[in-house]
């Protein structure tokens, strides 16, 4: 068995075993719920106006802004998920989004500068959702 052939055989074994292991372990992993997109907010508290919420999300990291104050951006991080609630936090701000997983209708509750409580409907998604991969962006 020449040296290159031995290396080649080792490589094939490692590839098959490694890929199998990674895909097997990975199949149990669940990524954070995709909340990215533009959400239409309807306030449930008197005196707080309706608004549009923009969520940019990469996994557990979120950047959110409101149309009424687009220059003010909040950097939040996923902290927890309980039942159908996603908890985000960053600085003094806490955001809770509740509703069924992957649903476009949620309830949003924010504490801090822009405190309020809204019902939210997702108008557009940031990432493709249909099978052909053309939606979004």
């Amino acid at each position: 068995l020449s040296r290159p052939t031995a290396v080649y055989l080792v490589m094939i074994v490692v590839l098959i075993a490694g890929l199998w292991a990674v895909l097997a372990i990975g199949s149990h992993l669940v990524a954070p719920e995709d909340l990215a997109g533009k959400w239409k907010l309807q306030s449930t508290i008197h005196g707080i106006p309706d608004d549009m919420l923009n969520i940019e999300q990469s996994g557990r990291f979120y950047q959110i802004s409101f149309d009424r104050d687009p220059t003010h951006r909040l950097d939040l991080k996923w902290t927890d998920r309980t039942a159908n609630m996603v908890h985000l936090a960053g600085g003094d701000t806490k955001l809770t989004i509740s509703g069924l997983m992957d649903s476009d209708d949620k309830t949003v509750e924010l504490s801090g500068n822009h405190a309020g409580r809204w019902t939210a409907h997702r108008v557009t998604r940031a990432y493709p959702w249909d099978v052909s991969g053309k939606e979004g962006h």
Binding site: Y8, V14, G26, A31, D34, D75, K77, V131
Partner: protein
């Protein structure tokens, strides 16, 4: 902002806006690309960076209002279309450039290293996604773990063949073992990576196993149709081209149509339009003028115009601001680390395991770690598919830039030029060596005749004919790489070599790619222990000095003697004038004239110019006489020489006047003769311009050559010169 809006057509004229956008993109891309080239970096790194600078990461961050006016979201669609078309044709060109010869019969080691260089980063990439998946990806149908893992693996395993080939040719590594193995690996990587990408896209888009099998089945069928149905048709096109001797517009139109149809079909099948374009290019019959002409017709517009738009589009989508905390930057660092560990580490270890020394194995690893714009292509596909998030896209773009930019400096460090030079160095004990750099084919004939006249009496003489090719301009794509290129086949050396054959003279041709011609001439002369660099002159572009520009840099930068031949006659001289004041350059002129006289029986006249009515001491006269005797009155082979002393206010005037009687003037570089080497000399040298006969202007670099004992009579001449001065 109102001013900007007016300038940009009020935001309503989309054509005006697009023109401004493209002009800005092209301008910045060329400037930053050129800047990076000057920094010894691949131009494409600068072009990629220019694209990012135009996006929200810099332009949008520094001047959000202006950026919004120049690149309003509605206009991005048009840029996207332009960039997509550009990438489709770029991938077609990449396929065209793919030469099966680079892959076939390259030995077991090359195959093993190339496959390990794909498998190692692929596996490490998929393993990294175990960590990143729950942190940086969203739960969506297109971001299923399998798609994400395979995509991250595929994007880590890519190598930018064009950039890599460019680095190899510029460092003249492509014909070394390191170069040959790396090129094979990169070519294999190219094919594998695009097939892998097609597979990942198929999986990402598939809706269940049946859909996946359907896509795979159609893709396999399409590949078979392309190979067995379309390829024979392309061969016929090639034959038509050979018969017609040109590539007609109808043929170009047909091929462009085929590119678009092929891209359309693969997009419909579900493995992306890019794969169709690449496949058509890859199956094109190679090694013909047909492919070369087709490439030349398409590449300028694609590479110079469309690719920068692609870079800008990528830049507009890259938001480095997304990485806004230490944890994100840590993940970014991890991505870079894993990418390097997989590609560099995998290739290096595989090369070492196959028996290559550590240094060479390391060089292969470094080169394979170049990802360049190929990474951007694959990342854009991933983003379009929704397989990666904005943060991962930004991290991977940074990784692509970092790995590409690191290649050249790290390669310099691990595999320094002096190491290659050591391998190329020649035996210094052999006979007289002359190096003839040739740029224009026509200049080679007279130079080789002159070299013969200077060295014919030396049985061990070595004549090197050197031609340096400028790197091809379009380094984002074209490599200028042809492993079968032989120096003797180089066009610019052909006339010289034919003439040498007539003279029964052995000439060694040397050809390589050079970014800095004067330095490489001097370096080659040093490596090969050359005694004399014999070159023609070219009028510098910006100055009027014959001894300026490239000639100046060779004259001042080389460790060998240099002779610049200004040809004004097509036969060997029978009469030679050597103006002589006693400098070391004059002594070299005397020595070279002596060599010519010995070999051609030419009559030499030594011209000494003195101020009017000056008393020339007897010692000085004796010195000149002794010097000429030592050069010309060799008892075994005496030569006729005439000493002529002329009184004159201006030595230059005297030389011009006296030169009328001679066919060649051999003259040293000296202020007295009005011949001074200056990089930006704007004063035309009168002797060079006004002497009607041919001129050989010489400059002595005494210490180096004399120390090697090469120039024979030089030391004796120097001894006598002390008496003259």
């Amino acid at each position: 902002l109102n001013f900007y809006s007016r300038f940009l057509g009020g935001g309503n004229d989309l054509l005006l806006l697009l023109l401004v956008q493209v002009a800005l993109i092209l301008g910045l891309s060329r400037v930053i690309g050129a800047l990076f080239r000057r920094m010894n970096q691949p131009q494409v790194v600068g072009e990629m960076l220019a694209g990012i600078m135009l996006g929200p990461s810099l332009f949008g961050w520094l001047a959000p209002a202006l950026s919004g006016a120049v690149f309003p979201p509605a206009s991005i669609v048009y840029l996207n279309v332009l960039s997509q078309v550009g990438v489709i044709f770029f991938l077609f060109l990449v396929g065209l450039e793919l030469d099966p010869k680079l892959i076939r019969n390259r030995g077991h080691s090359a195959v093993v290293i190339s496959h390990v260089s794909i498998v190692a980063p692929f596996l490490l990439g998929t393993a990294l996604s175990l960590l990143l998946y729950r942190r940086l990806f969203n739960h969506s149908p297109h971001m299923q773990f399998t798609s994400v893992a395979l995509f991250i693996g595929a994007s880590m395993s890519i190598t930018a063949f064009p950039v890599l080939a460019r680095i190899l040719t510029e460092r003249n590594l492509h014909k070394t073992k390191v170069g040959a193995v790396t090129i094979t690996c990169a070519a294999v990587d190219d094919v594998t990576a695009w097939c892998l990408l097609a597979l990942v896209i198929g999986i990402a888009r598939a809706n269940g196993i049946s859909s996946g099998l359907y896509t795979a089945g159609w893709a396999a069928l399409y590949v078979l149709v392309m190979f067995f149905g379309v390829r024979p048709f392309l061969r016929r096109l090639q034959l038509v081209h050979e018969r017609q001797g040109r590539l007609s517009q109808a043929m170009v139109g047909a091929i462009l149509l085929m590119v678009l149809v092929s891209a359309y079909i693969t997009e419909v099948i579900g493995i992306h339009a890019l794969f169709g374009a690449f496949l058509l290019g890859a199956i094109m019959p190679k090694g013909s003028e047909f492919v070369k002409t087709l490439t030349e017709k398409l590449e300028d517009f694609t590479v110079v115009f469309l690719l920068p738009v692609f870079f800008a589009f990528t830049g507009l989508k890259t938001r480095i601001g997304v990485l806004d905390n230490a944890e994100m930057w840590m993940y970014c660092g991890l991505v870079i680390l894993v990418a390097c560990a997989g590609k560099f580490g995998g290739s290096t270890l595989a090369a070492r395991a196959c028996g290559m020394p550590w240094r060479e194995a390391g060089a292969i690893g470094i080169l394979m770690n170049t990802r360049g714009l190929m990474e951007l292509v694959i990342l854009n596909v991933g983003r379009e598919l929704g397989v990666i998030t904005d943060a991962v896209f930004a991290m991977m773009v940074i990784m692509a830039l970092t790995t590409t930019a690191l290649t050249t400096p790290i390669l310099h460090w691990v595999y320094p030029r002096k190491l290659m030079e050591k391998e190329q160095a020649f035996d210094i004990t052999a006979g007289y060596k002359a190096l003839i750099p040739v740029s224009l084919p026509s200049s080679g004939i007279s130079l080789v005749r002159l070299a013969d006249a200077l060295t014919a009496d030396d049985e061990e003489r070595q004549i090197l004919a050197l031609t340096l090719k400028q790197p091809v301009d379009r380094d984002a794509f074209r490599t200028g790489l042809n492993l079968d290129d032989l120096p003797e086949k180089t066009d610019s050396l052909q006339p010289l070599l034919s003439e040498a054959a007539k003279l029964e003279m052995k000439v060694t041709p040397v050809a390589f790619v050079s970014r800095d011609v004067p330095s490489d001439i001097a370096r080659t002369a040093r490596l090969r222990n050359v005694n004399l660099i014999l070159m023609g002159f070219h009028n510098p572009v910006y100055t009027s000095s014959i001894l300026g520009g490239t000639v100046h840099r060779v004259l001042t930068g080389s460790d060998s003697d240099v002779a610049i031949f200004v040809e004004r006659g097509d036969s060997l001289p029978r009469t030679i004038l050597v103006p002589f004041l006693g400098s070391k350059h004059d002594r070299l002129a005397l020595e070279l004239a002596g060599r010519m006289a010995r070999n051609t029986q030419a009559a030499v006249t030594l011209l000494h110019v003195t101020p009017p009515h000056a008393l020339v001491s007897e010692a000085r006269k004796d010195g000149i006489k002794s010097m000429s005797d030592r050069v010309f009155n060799d008892p075994s082979h005496p030569l006729p020489v005439t000493l002529r002393t002329i009184e004159g206010e201006s030595p230059v005037e005297v030389v011009i006047e006296q030169a009328k009687e001679f066919e060649l003037v051999v003259i040293g570089v000296a202020e007295e003769w009005g011949l001074e080497s200056q990089l930006l000399g704007f004063r035309a040298e009168r002797v060079a311009r006004e002497v009607a006969s041919s001129l050989l202007i010489v400059r002595k670099h005494g210490s180096f050559a004399a120390a090697r004992g090469i120039t024979g009579s030089t030391e004796a001449v120097a001894e006598i010169a002390k008496r003259v001065n």
